[in-house]
Every structure is written in C-alpha cells, then in structure tokens.
Symmetry: C2
Subunit: 154 residues, 2 copies
DNA sequence: TTACTTGCAAATGATTTGCTCTAAA
DNA sequence: TTTAGAGCAAATCATTTGCAAGTAA
C-alpha cells in the first residue's frame, strides 16, 4: 500500500487515523482547516480527538503527502499534495481553488542566481475575486479582504 | 507626506504609532513578527501597547504599505511592501530573505485562463536552505523544517 | 467638536503538550 | 514484546476585543 510505504520510509507507523485523514483530504476538493477535517473524520472514527488530527496532519505534511498553507490571516489549511499545483484565494470570501497550470520550475533557477539560498522548491499563490463574489458586487474589484471566511467556502 | 496621503485616502488618520511602525519596517531587512516590531517600536514609543502594534500592522496592510505573510507554521510576519518582491524561506532555520527578481506578471494571465477567478495579483515563495544552514550540515539538503525559528533569524 | 485611535486588561481560539493506555511491527 | 501513536484534558500563545480616555482633523 502506497501510504504505508511512504510513512514507513520515515519511521512512521501506519494507523487507522492516518489512513482516514488522508482519505478525507484526497476526497475533498476544498482546502479545509483542521476542524473541518476533524468533523469529517469523525464520521468514520467517532472517538478520534482533535489533537490526533493535528498530529496526523503534521505527520502527513512531514511525509510530503499533504501540504499545509495559510491564507490571509486565518488558521492553517491543508490539501492533498500528491500532484503539485498552485492556488488562487478569493480576497473577499477566502475561498481557495486549485490552479491547473504547469510548474514554473524555471523560476527556481532564476531565484537561485539572485540569492545565496539553495532553492528546493516554490509555491505560487494568486489572489483575486471568485466568480460568486464578482457577481455579488461587480464593483470594488479588490476591496478589503473579509475578516471571516464563510464556513461553506471551506 | 507620503504616508499621510496613503492613509488619508482610506479614511485612516495619521498618528505617531503608525509612522513609527512603518519606519521600523522600512528600516529593517529582516521579516519580523508583531512581537519583534513591538520591541523595536518601544524604543521610540515606550508606552505603546502590543494591541496597537497588531492594529497598526493591520491598517498598514489594508493600505497596501505592508505585506503580511506566514512561513511554515509560525506567527504572522510583516514586511515593507513599497516595492514588490518575492521571498525565500530557509526550511531549516526559518530565515526569510527577499528575492530580487522581476515580477512574473505573465503568470496571472495564464492563471486567469485556467480558473474562474478574476486575478488581481500573486505571490511567490521559494524554499530551500540558507547559506549558513548548508555550511552547518551540508547533508540532508531538504530535511524537516525546524519547529522553532531562531530569535536572531527574525 | 467629532470620530478615529490608543492603552490596558480580559477574552478568544487555534494549536500543542503531558500522561496513560492501546496497538502497530 | 517494544515503542510509537491515540485520547483526553489542561496548557500555551498569538491575536482580538471591550471600553474609557486621548487626539487628529
């Protein structure tokens, strides 16, 4: 099994919560926070604890199976990292979507030239307005980011 | 005065803490968190409160004078946004450096084509190892990110 | 004079940790 | 068996907020 191997390489054990949490992340197209994952996983493992969810997300991130990121201000969000991709964040409602677009690996060489770092990778985050927000209020193309992210947008 | 105008446009007033905090951010090459800014500003305004620092950083970010961002896991960090630039983060010590490199505005058009968002901008974050970390331990080119960020690295 | 701002202290809320018990390997 | 992992509850810690007093405009 793929997951078991990936974890095994790093000395991590394969457990039910780990499998379940990765399944949840792979099954969703949204970019959830730890609480959303917690709610979701409890449908499978009702007695799981939130601490386990945090610890597991961390382990999965260490193993490179999951990516953790932050949008404007809020909590950590997570998504399946099985194939590299970029993100767009809506400045008004906070909704995150994947951007299907080839990896811009050439940028790394350029960045390497202008710094003293050994570059290992990069992330790109676009921001703007999602379709729903544009329709809701076509004016103010780049208004202030909303403080709260709608629950449904996760 | 430039700052006064930029704030005024948004209905914000020009105050001593706002000027002082922007000065601190413009004078430093590091990418500090709120607490570091707080310590720094108290040299000028000893009785300023941490809440004011947070509120001010938020106002300056709204006005587009400052950019807020998060590196792996930690608190929010801030930097002067007067000219656009990218960042590199050291995966081991968390140190952040600016990447002097032309803006890749062309990417936005490409992203716009493949999503339903109206793209307003983008950020790129590179990650890798800083020179100091590479010299300290040339092996493990992409080891696990450190949990704690050295105080001096801010 | 009229709000916008600040300081202070208390409140939040996300994330982490200590400890004991359970279960992979 | 041996030792990492899970659950639970308590602890942290960054960030926010309520409110009375200060001050730009």
């Amino acid at each position: 099994m793929e997951l078991r191997e990936q974890l095994g390489e790093r000395g991590y054990r394969m457990t039910k919560p780990r499998q379940a949490i990765l399944d949840v992340l792979r099954a969703t197209c949204c970019h959830p926070d730890a609480n959303w994952v917690y709610d979701e996983v409890r449908k499978t493992i009702p007695h799981i604890s939130l601490a386990t969810v945090y610890r597991t997300l961390d382990v999965l991130a260490q193993a490179g199976l999951v990516r953790q990121f932050h949008c404007h201000g809020g909590q950590a969000r997570y998504d399946d990292a099985s194939q590299p991709h970029y993100h767009v964040v809506c400045q008004r409602c906070g909704q995150v979507a994947d951007v299907p677009m080839p990896s811009q690996a050439a940028l790394e060489a350029e960045a390497a030239r202008s710094t003293s770092y050994a570059i290992a990778g990069h992330h790109i985050e676009f921001y703007g307005l999602c379709q729903a927000c544009r329709e809701r209020d076509p004016a103010s193309p780049a208004g202030r980011p909303e403080q709260e992210i709608a629950r449904e947008s996760l």
